[in-house]
Amino acid sequence: MWIGLYVAPGPLPDSLEALAQTALQFTPHVTIEAPDLLLLDVGASLQLFGGPEKLLQRLRTECTIAGVATIQLATAPNPTAAGLLARAPHPHVPHQDRRADTPAQRQAQLNGLPVTGLSTARPHREILQTLGTHTLKDLALLPRPGVARRFGRALLDELDRAMGRAIDVRIPYQPAPVFVTRLELPYQVTESTALLFGARRLLGQLAGWLNAGRLGTRRLTFTAEHDDCPPTPIEVRLATPSRDPDRLCVLLRERLGRIQLPEATHTLGLTCNDASPMGDTTVDLFTSAPPEHESLGRLIERLHARLGPGGLWRVNPYPDHRPEAAYRIEWVEDLTRLTTAGMPKKNCTTPDQMPSKRPAGLPRPLWLLHTPVALAERNTRPFWHGPLALVAGPERIETGWWDGNLVERDYFVAENDEHILVWIFRSRTGRSNQRSGPGTWYLHGLFG
């Protein structure tokens, strides 16, 4: 089954090719019939998209998003008929889809079409009119040898293709191997969130392009071009390859919420830097929740898009005796390093000499304060929400002379009147830039 998509002549000359890329979302077989027609072979796509009605509906939606408002759709068993029907306005209802799903319906619909719809008939329009041949039915009733002699074999061939009596072959449109596209916005945009409208149009194109190559992307770059400033790049990263425009759009929206444009934008560009072959997702008979690792990847990429690269992290122990250096923060920055289990791969920052067990010592607190808090001292006892009683210690930590962060401390586990267990230390030296000298108590951790 073929869909003919007639586009009313628009202001932009390249819109037909952009629309062809968008249409690749629905079928790999799209033909551009210049200047105003696309033909889509959707016979193999009907089941996937839930029947011709739903497919036509989605096609209309995508065309609206792509900024092509005036379209006309028609279905027919063969491409020539679909094109003829799409170009011809509906006899009764304007902008109504012409449907000719069976050969009989096609015959009925084509019979009433004007003969000038055939491209080979247009040069002979006046003669045909004088002969009283107005519709395709009239033409089909004329004796074939006479028609062939007077108007040429080509007219008969085209008529036969339209009627389904001859082989009707179209060469599919081959998209460019690299996806780079630009969109001139209809107006200047200053708010970053207002770019979403134009970006969605580009994402539809990208989705078609990816679909044609059975590809998925993990990284896209939008560029907002300005008059005086260098262009602003807007990057979207994904945890798993995808070509779903809605998923990309959600991420882009979170990303745009965090971006401040330096000045008004007139053109939006989209480059797909990273496309990799991607299989299709299997549709379950019973709609079930996506597997956990996949939804985790989606969650991470969504949080990453809104909170930025500093929003997600993990901690790892690090072999250093100074408590503030005994861990390393590992930012979850590169989403492409996510494992199949959904979690980021281990960064190899931990040296090999990392002992599996920490050497025996005082227990470490579950919470470490970012900066130690100096404690008051009452009756020679450190004071934090009440006087603190030392319950374990001391553990002397005296190290770090080699990198300028010398630490000379005696650590204790202490408990206050409310039975809160804390980790405190008494500094043995005071740095000159610290207001408190040696002997001051500090709170460094909470046992939680």
Partner: protein
């Protein structure tokens, strides 16, 4: 002849022999959940929690005066079990730095512990909701912004949590215990002497529990045992003399250090002037 059904079959469906009686929840019984809870690691707590553990798919509020009063050690058995079975634990906006060496000492696989930082309150609530909706986590611990949390936020979060497959904990400050909340399980945590935690069930699906549950907080493996604050002074003296060994430049405490300690132990004695 038509025989009438026996009288026992006509009895009220709440009869014990009736097969559907277990489907009717009576308010004097502890509620049970369709999906059983995840064991908390504390037998006395599990006995009182509906479903026999931390309930998945609902919010659980843990209320403490300040962060760091035992709430994390209460969850350590759960976190250990989840991370070891390769389920992700999300910690949303932790108030301090979760200290990796201590977590590792407790046997938690840090590869499966994901922190989310969200400075703005709106971002944080958004992140909590997104996490709950994704249902991709083994457990979620979220610290709510106390000044920006309104009941309608909590209702939204509770609805979002219904899709989750793991337990979700909201950690809140003390004023929250007097506010109404849609969370079906609310616990007030107060530290007690000797490494214990008093868990008061403010709200649960079941009868009111007046007495708080006392549980022993877990201690890291291989760590030295903590002594009582009022331990015998001789024990302290020996431990001061032979300090715990760390391999790097571990020197013995200076004499004045032990003086300080002994003065701390005997606070009634006037401090010697040599200390400062």
């Amino acid at each position: 002849m038509l025989s009438l059904p026996s009288s026992s079959a006509l009895a009220l469906p709440l009869d014990r022999t009736d097969p559907i009686s277990h489907l009717v929840w009576r308010a004097d019984r502890t509620g049970y959940a369709v999906t059983p809870g995840l064991p908390s690691g504390f037998r006395r707590l599990d006995a009182e929690l509906p479903g026999g553990g931390w309930p998945p798919g609902t919010l659980t509020e843990l209320i403490t005066r300040d962060p760091g009063m035992g709430e994390l050690r209460l969850l350590i058995p759960l976190l250990r079990q989840l991370t070891r079975s390769r389920r992700v634990v999300v910690m949303l906006a932790p108030p301090h730095m979760p200290y990796a060496p201590a977590l590792a000492d407790f046997g938690i696989d840090l590869d499966w512990l994901l922190m989310v930082q969200a400075t703005h309150a709106a971002d944080r609530l958004w992140a909590i909701e997104q996490t709950l909706r994704s249902s991709a986590f083994g457990a979620m611990l979220a610290w709510l912004p106390s000044d920006r949390t309104r009941p309608e936020h909590l209702r939204r979060l509770q609805l979002a949590a219904a899709q989750a497959r793991g337990p979700s904990f909201l950690l809140r400050g003390l004023p929250a215990q007097f506010e109404s909340s849609p969370a079906p399980l609310r616990l007030l945590l107060q530290p007690q002497a000797a490494q214990r935690l008093a868990v008061t069930l403010l709200k649960r699906r079941g009868p009111v529990l007046a007495q708080p549950i006392l549980i022993d907080l877990p201690q890291p493996e291989g760590a030295v045992r903590l002594r009582e604050p009022n331990a015998v002074p001789t024990a302290i003296r020996t431990s001061v003399r032979t300090p715990v060994r760390t391999p790097v430049r571990m020197s013995r405490p200076t004499p004045d250090q032990s003086v300080v300690l002994s003065t701390l132990r005997h606070a009634h004695r006037p401090p010697p002037s040599a200390v400062h």
